[in-house]
Symmetry: C3
Subunit: 443 residues, 3 copies
């Protein structure tokens, strides 16, 4: 957790945007944790219905009051500057300046996060309290910025598995100094990468993607979308993984991909008290692009505290303290567990499907039938038959037509409630698997 | 509405039956409103399990009491005569006469509507109050009727559309002087025809059918059933469209035709407080024939006040006043709206399905992201994002696998809540459609 | 019922096991009621994952106390001897003897039923009360038993039907002197055989199987499983058919075989207040073998009072008095009725599917339409239209796509609520059927 905290503190001050040096610096810092391959797409490149915009260079900016006092300073908080502001260096009366000032009247202490990527504007963002204290007089608005022919950057890293089928983990890196709705996603992704890298084996290949939101995922899909359509087994967009609440999962567009099904079964059986949100293209993050109808990738979105759940959404109240590093840590734990269940999910095949297996031969059944053996799973295990019942379920339904999730459903438990018994049966040669496809023949 | 009222008054006095001059006169009057093609099927023609009966000629009828007073007179109210009565001219005591008298004891003021098409009988129908006042003595029963080799008549009219796929509107014209359970149907059909004729364009062809109930639709199916089986996209039998209640729809046999689905979604979202009745062959109108298993046409039935909902069912209390012309007018409005939704229903195809469309280019997105733009659909439209959300839904799900109805379902609105945005997106070249079939490829 | 009682009394004292003379004597007695073909599978034969064990010969056994008194005697109650005990003839102190004594502390009056088929042991079973009264001293344990190369026996009998498709009735015959959890099954099976033998005709072939539980059904499947997989239409394992409770049905593995569907519809409509248990391989009887994944036969299990429902489970409290012969008799009645519904279930085909049938021609409709005829099914039948409604349902849905069960579901009745009308319509030539397969063409 100390490591997460350290990286957070390095990343927080950077002035990220959908292009520019802040974005590149962010990727450089993340590269210390995972081997990112970084790409640059030149300004002017057509990506589907969009065009890569000019790169935004921001060097300095301030707003000086009638008495020479600094009202807002880019170096103090980069939220003070409307993201993608054009340059300005002009003295003007308050009335005219106000056309370029942005506040949140309902949150008088918060500096809003405002962007104008595709229409040229300049502007300053202030707390509403500060705005109300401004006196009449002449103000100097100074923004030393530039629009140049440059590039938009994104990056990815892979963890290869037995299969080319991929699990996508995607997150965005374009918001400036905000905690939950910016850094929680890339931090969770980077450290989750290291967890999965340490697994003894991986059935799936894992693709980690870091992009500026919307235009970045569209550009990424323009280059890799065809490949992803062929390979993606399931995926998650990570966003807003800080906060007090439990994880909340937004289903993929089909609502039926493997993670959708695992999550919903987990919730239905009360084994996790998180939330489930239906898919919608109306709002959200990059799942809107991955789930656009031409791609329709099996990708959902995972968050802990989403828009509407906390006052800091898109403003300066979104800080490390309001979010907590502990919450990110817990998100990583829970995401790892979910992905492990996904690794185990699939069809298993009973190798002795005709009649029941003679379980006592395999030390999986008591060798006597008496009142005292009625709650035993074997001669040794006194567990009210939990192991025995789950093994009987696994053997009966491992027929190539039911996946582990289907069997967990019938056993009224979660996939991880079956995983130890699956392992035992595979070791004893009674089950084979997991296989991806349904419909395999019985032995 | 004056026009509906006028036609009602002309049609009401006619003595309709399943054959005969009253039926033909009805079709002649309706022909003034829509270009009906009238058919005559000769007596004795076999139509499936049925045979066209002899035509009923009714010229005059009365019942004269012991003191020479007229008890019941065909010219005063044609319900007094059992429909399809054989001729009689006979004096008889009250006791014997009573075998030929029909009343409704539970509704002492109502003259019942009684028929005996296929078994030869004669009879008079009276209010129960009148029956109880009859004194002993000799009565003269006089019915000047005749059964002749003639024909059974039905008629149809078409409004051609871009496609040969047809929408069927069918109603019956065989009940004598009753309002809700006779004239509401043909009046609604005739004026609905004129509404649809005025649409700027029609995707479907509309078939309007006017038949005597049961035997008429069976005869019509005998001639046109094969064609209808090939062409019918959806259809409605119109009956009982007067009364205070909301429209109530009886589903087609499959329960899944386009109108079934549109109606049920409308009701499910509380956008119309009407009723939905399951399909049943046990009772109803001509949908029983259209939905017989050999044809199984996608045809439902629409009514406002059905059997059991009002005391006037099949008796003289079923008058213009108890039904109202206003209710028929409203039925026409609502039927037109339903058929317009059906015209819009289908698959649309997003022409830019890879990633999101860059909506600000098309004036469909605010050009800045700030606290103040959060409830805007575009730079101009302040609507809590209603337009923006529906457009995002339309673009994401217009993938050849979801119809407009599916998207309305996800948008928690009715089809007509999407229609203006569909039009906007089609005009801007972002959507193409509607297409009938699912499974079209994305661009 | 006297006949059932008589056979019960002959069968009860026999010392059955999974092999041996008691098993063979049981089959001999049952052979008086139905023509059983008896098979013997030699010791040492491999049947799937199992091996036929040595045959158990038990001649005599007793336990003699310090004062020479007989504590437990095989001839008094064969439950006193651990089933499959090895021979012993040894004097030993109470402390050592206790390692071989079995009781149920929670049911101090009951002698438990204990088995050790596959691990060699000897032992005596006592009531716990008796155990507590034993004094210190030397005891003589005497068991005159032997393990020999012999055979395992099972038997079957057939009732041929029009089709080779089979209904399986299977029950077990390996428990010694117990009533509900032993004799109720074979007694119900034997007398049910005679009921079905008396039916005027049989659509299906009936296979009656009598096996020792588990190893017996596995051995039976080893020989006949392939044939059964091809032929079995539905089946029932019969067990515990005595007791006060209503029948309770354990669904087959698919949960969708014909008996599963008939049973569930019966329960859903409240026409039988019995229970439905989901399929599980965790516990139960021979359906665990029939429903093992390699066979997956459409076989459920029927019981009245199951494990957990009565104190006598696997002990000497399971007597004729606690179970009653009347309950077995009622089980036979109810099983026969269920199988009759299954005989009627299938697709019927309306021979006049275009438009409605003209029902008055067939005496199935009133010949006049008047207030007084509104609740008639025909000129003669005053039944609130029950017959008429069911006939209209049968004719409309007998289209090759709906089975009798589907139509019963729509008619809100049980299959036997339609059976008399089906018969009437078949006799009049309006329906043909039943056919097994869906999808037959209309006439």
């Amino acid at each position: 957790m100390a490591e997460i905290n350290l990286l957070f503190d390095e990343l927080f001050p950077l002035c990220r945007s959908i292009t520019g040096q802040g974005l590149r610096d962010t990727l450089t810092l993340l590269s210390e944790k995972l081997p990112l391959e970084v790409f640059g797409i030149p300004t002017g490149t057509q990506v589907f219905d969009w065009v890569i915009p000019e790169e935004w260079v921001i060097r300095d900016a301030w707003l000086k009051g009638p008495n020479g006092e600094i009202i807002a300073n880019f170096r103090t908080n980069n939220l003070h500057i409307l993201n993608y502001s054009t340059p300005v260096n002009e003295v003007m009366p308050l009335a005219k300046l106000k056309e370029h000032l942005y506040t949140i009247p309902g949150l008088p202490d918060a500096i809003p996060y405002v962007t104008s990527y595709y229409t040229r504007r300049w502007g300053f963002c202030l707390s509403h309290k500060q705005l109300e204290q401004l006196e009449d007089g002449d103000y100097l608005a100074y923004i030393d910025s530039e629009m140049i022919n440059g590039e938009l950057n994104y990056a990815h890293a892979f963890l290869p598995g037995e299969s080319k089928r991929e699990i996508l983990i995607s997150t965005y890196i374009c918001h400036p100094s905000m905690a939950n709705n910016e850094l929680s996603g890339p931090l969770a992704a980077a450290f989750l990468y290291n967890r999965i890298a340490n697994w003894p084996n991986r059935r799936y290949t894992y693709r980690f993607v870091f992009v500026p939101e919307t235009i970045g995922s569209i550009a990424y899909l323009h280059r890799f979308g065809k490949q992803m359509k062929e390979r993606t087994h399931a995926g998650l967009v990570l966003t807003c993984l800080g906060g007090q609440k439990k994880l909340s999962y937004k289903l993929s567009r089909s609502g039926k991909n493997p993670l959708d099904r695992i999550w919903q079964q987990m919730i239905a059986h009360g084994q996790y008290e998180g939330g489930t949100r239906p898919f919608t293209p109306e709002f959200g993050s990059d799942e809107r692009q991955y789930c656009s109808p031409g791609f329709n990738l099996p990708v959902g979105q995972m968050a802990r505290t989403v828009y509407g759940d906390y006052p800091g959404y898109h403003n300066s109240l979104d800080t490390k303290e309001s979010m907590t590093i502990e919450a990110i840590q817990q998100s990583i734990d829970e995401l790892e567990s979910l992905l492990q269940m996904n690794e185990a999910e699939g069809c298993y095949i009973n190798q002795f499907p005709y009649g029941e297996v003679k379980l006592d031969k395999h030390d999986l059944y008591p060798d006597m039938n008496a009142p005292a053996t009625r709650f035993l799973s074997s001669n040794e295990i006194v567990d009210s038959r939990t192991q025995l019942n789950r093994i009987l379920m696994l053997l009966n339904y491992s027929d190539g037509k039911h996946t582990l999730l289907d069997i967990a459903e019938r056993s009224k438990c979660n996939i991880d409630g079956l995983m130890p018994y699956v392992q035992k049966l595979v070791e004893k040669g009674l089950l084979e698997g997991p296989f991806h496809e349904k419909g395999r023949e019985l032995g």
